[in-house]
């Protein structure tokens, strides 16, 4: 294994030959370099895309802090080298190394990948290969690091099951310590033992079994799927005692203090900012939104905590931008108070504050006005659909008039550019629904011109919907290439105004995302073959090689349409059903049926629809009552009576008929029965 000094010497000879060598040298403010020999566990945290994108990832930053706060462990970072650097590293025999100590990844005990989206899969394989670590988990022995992965794409980990030793399902703040403790304990038992190599393989399995017994950890080798003749899943068997089936995600009862010592890159990256997560989860229930379904329950930080963290983060980083992160800023209970306090805190500091995901209403314009220091930046809103029918189907109901009034107000107050996000390919969408997107854009511009003249601009970002696992739309098929092309063609023909800029997703990118996110274990061979034949950086439009993927499918006798375009039976067992984000499949299916009927569900802060979160985490909620969570309080004592599941649908229907029910009313009546319903499932 090369030493850090050897790696640095080799790097010196190649770095001036690559673009942006600053990606590969570390040395950033707030990076942490601990004494290698002072700890008993060394973890490398990896974002499998280039430094420019990965360095500002907040999820990994949380884990970096969690691990480095321990005296007995250290965490360092690694990213995917760009293609020019990869070629030179291979040519010069440089293994992938961490930025802090320049040690090869193969020298660490634990490699932690974040996989927030599926188009990182081939990069993850490439990183293992560049580190000289066998790609397939079954080929690794005790001399290799334990490879774990987390992030949103692990809601369906199956296409990566062959390459990752253990997946973390859900939130990582607490479970990372359970994993580290298990690995440390295992390592301490190893010291001084004599072991033939076949014995080692067996021993690695022992450690993996320990990991599999940690709640929220999924170790694929201990689960065996059985298939039906049509290729769908018959059942998933657990192969070991004491492991969960299904694996339920982990959550933290209360959001721990947010990271404030952000890594400050020495080169320009994509997001040059400090981020403070103000709220986790979302109560809106948009049916296409995987994040909204899998990050429940909603937990908020207090205004005081957010402001103090923001102050400390800007103070310790010197960043020129602060992002207040959440899935839906407008839904943060004390948003006006927060924005006022942040505005006051950073007055005259030349700080740009970004507030993503604002609801389409005039209050949002007031919020942005309070934060704005420099005019000229854009204002982003996401109507997602442009007809009432479609908005009912996706459960994001915003009347046209609200959109027009809000955008008019934005232009009137001096923003010249508005960005509107839409999606095509929603279930049952027709060309009329797509035409309505073009019509709405034209109307927004026309109304804007009335108040702000000809300078107003509109960027319409129209992506294509991918039905994601663990959402109410997991039963629907992805739109076909022909349909997508026809819809995009219509938009291009209709939106020729020079002040409207249209952008869209290439069908190849959509289909790749669709089969990777909906795949089963058989897809692991496809991922491997695609990587071997040159697929990487699949999230990069100019790098993605769709033909390589199609050839990989053909090589393994698989049909991508089986994953992307096949209508799913209502009783189908999905490849990801043994993983649960604690939102029940029954709930998702009921929501799907309501979608077909055009029924909307209101914000679940107003009305609990019994998604399954509360029964799963009822003890956690009971121990953490009050404002922190946005689920109803649990007032029942432990071990409530059991009610059969039929009552559940009755409850939900009642709830639907009473959209204005206050939270307190719900918590008194609905919950005890909900709790029982899950037991009866």
């Amino acid at each position: 294994m090369l030493t850090p000094e050897q790696i640095e010497t080799k790097l010196d000879r190649i770095l001036l030959k690559v673009q942006k060598p600053g990606r590969y040298v570390g040395g950033e403010l707030n990076s942490i370099l601990k004494d290698w020999d002072s700890v008993s566990l060394r973890a490398a945290l990896i974002f499998p895309d280039i430094y420019d994108i990965g360095v500002s990832n907040v999820g990994l930053k949380i884990l970096y802090d969690q691990i480095n706060q321990r005296e007995d462990a250290l965490a360092e970072r690694a990213y995917a080298p760009w293609t020019d650097m990869e070629a030179l590293m291979r040519e010069h025999g440089i293994p992938l190394y961490t930025l802090e100590s320049k040690r090869p990844l193969s020298g660490f005990d634990l490699l932690g990948f974040t996989l927030p989206y599926e188009t990182l899969y081939t990069n993850a394989l490439n990183i293992l290969d560049l580190a000289g670590i066998p790609l397939r988990a079954e080929e690794r022995d005790l001399s290799h690091p334990i490879v774990i992965a987390g992030g949103h794409s692990t809601t369906n980990p199956e296409p990566m099951h062959a390459f990752i030793d253990a997946f973390v399902i859900g939130e990582g703040e607490e479970v990372i310590h359970d994993i580290i403790n298990a690995v440390q304990k295992f390592k301490s038992l190893q010291v001084g033992m004599f072991e033939p190599s076949n014995f080692q393989t067996f021993k690695r399995e022992n450690l993996l079994l320990e990991l599999a017994r940690i709640p929220g950890v999924y170790v694929p080798r201990f689960y065996q799927p059985h298939y039906m003749d049509d290729g769908t899943i018959e059942r998933m068997d657990a192969l070991a005692e004491g492991i969960a089936n299904p694996i339920v995600k982990r959550i933290v009862a209360k959001l721990p203090p947010p990271p404030t010592k952000f890594i400050v890159p020495n080169i320009e990256v994509v997001h040059n900012r400090a981020s403070v997560e103000i709220m986790r989860g979302c109560t809106r229930g948009c049916r296409f939104c995987q994040a909204g379904m899998i990050t429940r329950p909603v937990r908020e930080r207090s205004v005081e905590e957010v402001v103090a963290a923001a102050r400390e983060a800007i103070q310790s980083s010197g960043f020129e931008e602060l992002a207040l992160m959440s899935l839906s800023s407008s839904d943060y209970t004390h948003i006006m108070e927060l924005v006022t306090a942040i505005g006051e805190e950073f007055k005259d500091k030349k700080l740009v504050v970004s507030l993503p995901s604002l609801r389409i209403e005039s209050v949002s314009v007031d919020l942005m006005d309070k934060l704005r220091d420099r005019r000229g930046s854009g204002f982003t809103l996401a109507p997602e659909a442009a007809t009432e029918r479609m908005r009912r189907i996706i459960n994001k109901f915003i009347p046209d008039e609200d959109i027009i009034n809000t955008t008019r107000e934005i232009y009137r107050r001096g923003w010249t550019t508005i960005k509107l996000y839409f999606m095509i390919g929603h279930p049952s969408e027709t060309l009329e629904d797509v035409q309505a997107i073009a019509d709405l854009c034209k109307r927004v511009i026309a109304e804007g011109r009335k108040v702000a003249g000809m300078r107003v601009k509109l960027n319409a970002g129209v992506s294509t919907f991918v039905p994601k696992p663990q959402t109410p739309f997991q039963w629907v098929a992805c739109d076909t290439r022909e349909n997508i092309l026809a819809k995009q063609d219509l938009l291009r023909r209709q939106l020729r105004d020079k002040n409207i800029k249209l952008s869209w997703t290439k069908p190849d990118d959509t289909l790749l995302e669709a089969f990777l996110s909906r795949g089963d274990r058989k897809l692991a061979d496809v991922v491997y073959t695609a990587w071997k034949n040159g697929a990487r950086f699949d999230a990069w439009g100019d790098q993605m090689k769709f033909d390589v993927w199609m050839n990989a499918f053909a090589e393994h006798g698989l049909d991508p349409a089986f994953y992307t375009h096949r209508p799913r039976r209502t009783d189908e067992i999905f490849a990801w059903d043994h993983i649960t984000a604690a939102v029940r499949k029954n709930f998702l299916f009921q929501d799907f049926r309501q979608s077909l009927e055009g029924q909307i569900r209101v914000d679940c802060r107003l009305n609990c629809f019994a998604c399954g979160i509360l029964p799963t985490f009822i003890d956690v909620r009971r121990d953490h009552p009050g404002e922190g969570w946005k689920c109803p309080d649990v007032k029942t004592p432990k071990r409530e009576r059991v009610v059969n599941s039929k009552q559940l649908s009755v409850i939900s229907n009642q709830a639907l008929a009473l959209p204005q029910v206050h939270r307190d009313n719900v918590s008194g009546g609905v919950l005890p029965e909900v709790e029982g319903a899950v037991v009866g499932d």
Partner: protein, 220 residues
């Protein structure tokens, strides 16, 4: 007030370019809570001026820059500014000197006339180096093409020689011993000599060579 910093730039920061260095200094000043003065206009930017862009990959023990603050001269001492700023800078930048200068003094860029460099040539490129250096110095002209334009490198070379054995050892000599070459190149507007061009003229691949800027030379 206007302060003038002399600083070294080493290690990982060799790969931080000119524009990124501006941002880095801006952030360090913000962390140190120094009140940066901003330009007027639609997109105000902090008033920071570097004497001379240092090519990517070069280290330096002699960079200079002016920073304007909204503080009055009497409010703070240079030594306090130095310690405040050093505390918030990455470890690969060390402040070597700090002066408070007259706000009306001419810009550093306009005063610069030459830069000195020390290049550490790996042994495999160092054979007959004395002769090759002499050939370059003796040449009447050294026509070279850069970005499609032909120019003469020779008048930009003020001095070129093997570094005397007594010269202080550069901190980043890298692997092996190598042979050190000293060069002094003009650095006037429109007439800037580039060490990598000199190395190319010597048939040495510039990316194999460690270069450190050792001194900036100003008028007067």
């Amino acid at each position: 007030m206007r302060i003038r910093l002399t600083f070294s730039k080493q290690g990982a920061l060799r790969y931080t370019g000119h524009l990124d260095l501006h941002t880095l200094i801006e952030r360090a000043a913000r962390r140190a809570q120094l009140p940066l003065a901003y330009s007027q206009g639609f997109h105000p930017t902090p008033k920071i001026q570097l004497a001379s862009a240092l090519p990517l990959g070069f280290s330096s023990r002699a960079e200079m820059m002016d920073i304007w603050l909204t503080t009055e001269d009497s409010e703070v001492s240079a030594s306090k500014l130095r310690s405040d700023l050093q505390a918030t800078l990455p470890r690969d930048i060390q402040i070597l000197d700090i002066q408070i200068v007259d706000d009306r003094a001419p810009a550093l860029q306009t005063q610069l006339i030459a830069s000195e460099y020390e290049a550490t040539i790996p042994d495999e490129h160092a054979s007959n180096l004395t002769i090759r250096l002499a050939a370059l110095v003796d040449a009447l002209s050294l026509p070279r093409v850069r970005r499609g334009k032909t120019y003469d490198l020779r008048p930009l070379i003020e001095s070129l020689a093997l570094a005397p054995p007594s010269a202080p050892l550069s901190r980043n000599t890298g692997e092996g011993s190598g042979v050190r070459v000293f060069m002094r190149l003009t650095a006037r507007e429109g007439a800037t000599g580039r060490p990598e061009e000199v190395l190319s003229a010597l048939d040495i691949p510039p990316e194999d060579v460690r270069v450190e800027r050792t001194r900036l030379i100003f008028q007067g």
